[in-house]
Each structure stands twice: as structure tokens, then as C-alpha cells.
Symmetry: C2
DNA sequence: AAGGGACGGGCATACGTATTCACTGTTTCA
DNA sequence: TGAAACAGTGAATACGTATGCCCGTCCCTT
């Protein structure tokens, strides 16, 4: 066995020309079925596989998608949001099923990533994952889409160009979480999470929170909303802030599980019981949510469907097909933290 | 602006030939520095990037590594070991620093993966991650290395061909964990985890456990060793097994945090307190280890260095350089579960 | 003054595939 | 029965880059 076989080798063995081999192997229907079978048999026996680079060069398509995770430049211990990691499996599987390879990279928000994948033809399309200040990369995003690069990101559906964003029904999830607390008899429900446009997903969850309050005839008290981006420390700080301001509350809807976990830590430090004094509901259903004490009631997003939807949407864009975009359903998972 | 620029376009603008552009951009020193600067300036202004596929086709190297996660075919909810996921960041960064792209894929242990990446020239080397029965893919592994495919896997150093395996100092970590329990006054220490050759890493941890017992002059009681592969359920089953057999013990060294967490669940169900009745130490330091009640003392593996070592080792193999392989150091992280 | 490097760069070509075009023999349709 | 459609295939070529080989120029050595 010398070098690896090429389509010429197969052509020679099959008594046809190289183009015929190419056509046969990629399923062109202008090849005689018998010829095709002969070629396929020979290819198998030689362990032949199309050279990816030659194929991509000639056909001008990489047959590859890129998955870019965004990190805050500051964050040191590369702690990617667990929810995104849980999408990884379904994304890779969806790609594999579609016959695409998947490139992966962690990017600083500030880098030059918008050049690389585009200009060097490494990927046909890009999946962007990362919470974080939307404004911070909106400009690059717009730049990319203008240049015709195919991009899909996970986020708040309805933000930015149509079909470019895939996301959960954050508003519905926020409403369900809040309605659950109300049904448990809570009346003073704090919201921990950004309510402004920099974090559109958290904002949507806040909208759902307000929806539920209004539907129940409760008034929305702005004092109960505390800014918190999605880290544990932010959650702990938020309850400290409520205490400092002397705001009374009997429940918390945290815009993410990380925030909720931090809040529980803060409540414990302040000697307040969960769910006795304060009932609490999070969002995301990360693995740790089952381990908190008490276990955390939360809103679960279907990571599997999320990953599949991202890939499906991106491939549609790559193929210039129409893209429909509906938010993915969420589901409330009731555990002990919201009242037994 | 029509199509994307090629090296010919740059050559024309710079008044040189295409080969000179190629040489200049890839740092050949037989190009006049001034010429090089001129070319680089033009390339920048055109947003030129080398076409990856053309480059790879010509140079016969993909400039890409592949990261393959192995899943047990049965396991449904694609729950990859968190420790491997925490390596992901440092692996991608190490690849990026070396100028390599990273392909990622989740593979069934039973699939045909050993053909794909090899034969289609998608990657220059492969990183394999996955606990799981080593025997199950040893044959494929051998097949790959025989064919000259460059492979590195995470596992027990010393298993299989030299330099192909990168791993932690499992034996040292196991010894440190056990010695810690002994220093806390525990004498009847159970080991939860496989002690046979199918899981070489767990076996090494067991060896360290014995080392520590013997160093302290304690006898090794085989009744204290319980088979448990690395899941929470296995840990819970293991303590049930100990109870059923009426074995007395005052401490547990679990071969992984998942096992430890399951064991704690089992102990709680049996009404035994941690660390009062039973002190417990795990292995891996996954994120959940901080959230258990009480927080879990464990042995931490440096995911960052692990990822970097994997990439460094693989690249050395790809470049046919000599590979040294020393186990990576581990560190005991003392929390409340092993006694205040 | 002649020989020999070193330097800088051009020419030609190869990497392996996919696609356009042209061509032949066969079938179909008016 | 002639023309037109069609199936099946080969010849030629392009995709964009990297590299082996060569040649001219300049400077240094003896």
C-alpha cells in the first residue's frame, strides 16, 4: 500500500474516466446504476474517501459549520455557560446527520474573528453562542450579515434580522415561573436580572414576569427589580442590595440559575430560609440546580431541540432557503425551592 | 468589490509573481523584507486570507486537529463528563495559539470514525476523550496508530504505546486523598470504583489508595473495595452494597466525584451523617462538588494544563518530534466532607 | 580577474476533485 | 421517417496555493 487512492485510481480499476467516478460517488443520476455500483464497490474495497480539501476547493463550499463561543475577555477560568455546553452534543449530532463537519472555537468578544472564517473559507456558516452584552458585538454581526456570511445566534427571537436568531420562549417561561410563585401565594416577587436592552433574553424574561403580575392583578413595583447579569456573585449582590434598600419580598424570580444560586447563598448568609421566608425560581435548569439545598425550581430549555434548531436554521440560510423562526417552548420544573 | 481576492490579485498589485506572494505571507526568508512588507500591506487592505482548502490541498496538511468525544451508545441524554468539557476551553485555545483549527465530533464507541478523519484528510491528528471501557476501543486505536494516524488520548499514562496517552497522576492523587482521610483519624476507608484493568485510571487511583494504607501500616481489606463505574447511581448502589454486606467503615474514597455524590445520596438515605459518621473524598473537582451538602473534598485535576498537554503532545506527534510524557500533577482540595 | 556563494524572485507544475461542454448511440414523438 | 430529446460518458479545464528548479545580480574571496 503506497499512497492513498484517488478518484483516478478508481476510474482506472473500473474502466471509466475520473469524472464518472466523481459523479457516481456523489449521486449524480446521469450515471448508469450498474456503473455506479461497480465504482462504489471498488471505492469501498480501497477505503477510498473523497479528499475534503480538493473537493472544497473545487466546489467552493467547505461542508463545514463553525461554532463560536464568546467569552468575556476578563473572565479567567474559561467558564462557559453550562447550558451552551449541553447544546454541544445535539449540535454535533445535527451537523453529522447533515453531513457537515463542525469547527469549534472560543473567541474573545473583541477579536478579529469576523474576518477569519469568512475570508479563509473555513466554514459555510457560523453559529454564535454566548450571552453577554449584545451591543458589544452587534456591529460585527451586522457587518457579517451585510457581507453575506451566514450566521445564526442563540438569543432573543425577534432581535436583529429575521431568522438569524434562534431562542427560547423567554417571555413565556418568565410568565410561567412568576405565575407559579403567585399560585403558591407569594405576592412580593423580586426579579433579579437585567431589564434593559443590553441583554434581550433577560429582558424578555422580565416581560413575562410583568405579564404574570398583571394577569393576576398585582401591581409592578420597580423597587423589586434588581440588575444582575448572569453570575452567582451578581445574584448574591442583588439580595444584599434588596436588604440594604429595605425592600420586603417573599419570593424571587431569578433570570438565570446562576443568579438564583448566588441569591440562595446570600439568603443563607442573611439567615432567611428557602422556601419558608423566600420562595425562589430560576431559569435554565443547569445541572447544579438539582444539587442546591433545597433543589431549585427552574425553567428548563430543551438543549437538544435548541441545538437542532440552530443547525437547521443555519443550514437553511446556507442553502438560501426560507427560514421560519418560532421561539422554542420552555417548561417549568418544580422542585422544593418554590414551596413544598 | 466582486469575488474575494486571491494571491494573484495581490501579486499584480505588488508587481511581483504569485509565488512570491505565497512565500512572503508564509514567512519564507528568501523574500526581501521590503517586498514582504509591501505584500503584507496590500493583503491587509484587501482583507485577504489564504484559502484554507487550496493551501491544504497543495501542502497536504489540513492544519486542523480533531477532537472526538466518546459516548456510550446507550446513554441517552448525551451527558459528557464535565471534566472533559472543562478541558474544551484550553484545548481550543492551545489549538488557536498553534495556528490549528479544531474539528469536534461526538462518536459512538462502535462507529466507523477511525476511517473518516484518516481517509478524507480532514485532520492531521486526533484527540480522543472519553472514559469508558478501554478494551472496547483498544483494537481500533491500535489499528489507527499502525496506519500512522496521529492520535492522543486522555487516560492512564503508561497504557498503550508510549506518548500516545496523556493523563493525571492518578496514583499520586489517590494516595493523597487516602492519606488525608488517615490523617483525619479514619481507619476503615472504603474504595468506590473499578479496581481492574478495564478502567486503567480508576485502577491507578486504587493503587494510590493501597499505597497510602500500606504507608500508614494499615491492612488492605478487600471487603472495602466496591466496583462502581463513574456515575451517581453507581455510587449510591455501592453504599447500599456495603450496607447489605454488613461492612463497617468510617470513610469513603470515591474514584470520581459523580460516584461520591451518589454515595452521599445513599448515605443520607441511610441516615448516616457526613462527615460525622462517614468522611468522604472524591476525585475530579467537577463544579457540582462545591454545591453538595457538605461541600465535597476532592482531588482536582488541572483541566487547563491537561488540555494544553494534549495539544502539545499531539502536535509533537504530528511533526514527528520526540514526545515526553509525564503524568500531570493533581492537588487535594479540602472541603467539609472529609471532616471539619 | 575569475570563481563561488548568497540573495531575491520568476516559471512551471502539482495537489485531487467537480463541472461544463461536446459527443455518441438510443429512444420518442410528430 | 426525420428530428428532437435523452441517457451515458469522456476531454478539458478550473479551483487557489505551495514548492522544486532555475536564473540573474551582487559581493566577497583568493
Amino acid at each position: 500500500m503506497g499512497r492513498r487512492p484517488t478518484s483516478f485510481d478508481i476510474a482506472q480499476l473500473a474502466g471509466v474516466s475520473q469524472p464518472t467516478v466523481s459523479r457516481a460517488l456523489r449521486g449524480s443520476k446521469s450515471v448508469n446504476p450498474q456503473t455506479r455500483q461497480r465504482i462504489e464497490a471498488i471505492a469501498r474495497s480501497l477505503h477510498y474517501a473523497v479528499d475534503k480539501h480538493a473537493s472544497s476547493l473545487r466546489s467552493q463550499s467547505a461542508n463545514t459549520l463553525a461554532l463560536l463561543f464568546f467569552e468575556e475577555p476578563a473572565e479567567d477560568d474559561s467558564t462557559i455557560n453550562p447550558f451552551f455546553l449541553s447544546m454541544l452534543g445535539s449540535i454535533t449530532h445535527a451537523c453529522a446527520r447533515a453531513g457537515y463537519d463542525l469547527l469549534i472555537s472560543f473567541q474573545q468578544l473583541s477579536g478579529d474573528w469576523h474576518v477569519d472564517y469568512q475570508d479563509s473559507r473555513k466554514a459555510d456558516g457560523i453559529i454564535l453562542l454566548g450571552y453577554g452584552d449584545y451591543e458589544a458585538y452587534r456591529a460585527r454581526l451586522d457587518h457579517l450579515t451585510e457581507q453575506g456570511t451566514k450566521v445564526v445566534r442563540w438569543g432573543a427571537v425577534g432581535t436583529g434580522p429575521a431568522g438569524i436568531t434562534v431562542g427560547s420562549d423567554n417571555r413565556g417561561g418568565g410568565e410561567a415561573a412568576t405565575a407559579h410563585l403567585i399560585a403558591r401565594g407569594r405576592r412580593r416577587i423580586a426579579f433579579l436580572g437585567a431589564a434593559d436592552g443590553r441583554y434581550p433574553e433577560l429582558e424578555d424574561r422580565y416581560r413575562g414576569y410583568r405579564d404574570a403580575l398583571e394577569a393576576a392583578g398585582l401591581t409592578v413595583d420597580d423597587a423589586l427589580q434588581v440588575d444582575a447579569i448572569t453570575t452567582e456573585d451578581a445574584g448574591q449582590d442583588a439580595v444584599a442590595d434588596l436588604a440594604r434598600r429595605g425592600v420586603e419580598y417573599d419570593a424571587i424570580f431569578a433570570a438565570s440559575d446562576s443568579i438564583a444560586i448566588g441569591a440562595m447563598r446570600g439568603l443563607a448568609a442573611a439567615g432567611r430560609s428557602v422556601p419558608g421566608d423566600v420562595a425562589i425560581v430560576g431559569f435554565d435548569d443547569i445541572a447544579s440546580a438539582q444539587l442546591t439545598n433545597p433543589p431549585l425550581t427552574t425553567v428548563t430549555q430543551d438543549a437538544r431541540r435548541a441545538g437542532e434548531a440552530l443547525v437547521r436554521t443555519l443550514l437553511a440560510r446556507v442553502r438560501d432557503e426560507a427560514v421560519e423562526s418560532a421561539p422554542l417552548p420552555t417548561r417549568l420544573v418544580i422542585r422544593a425551592s418554590s414551596g413544598a
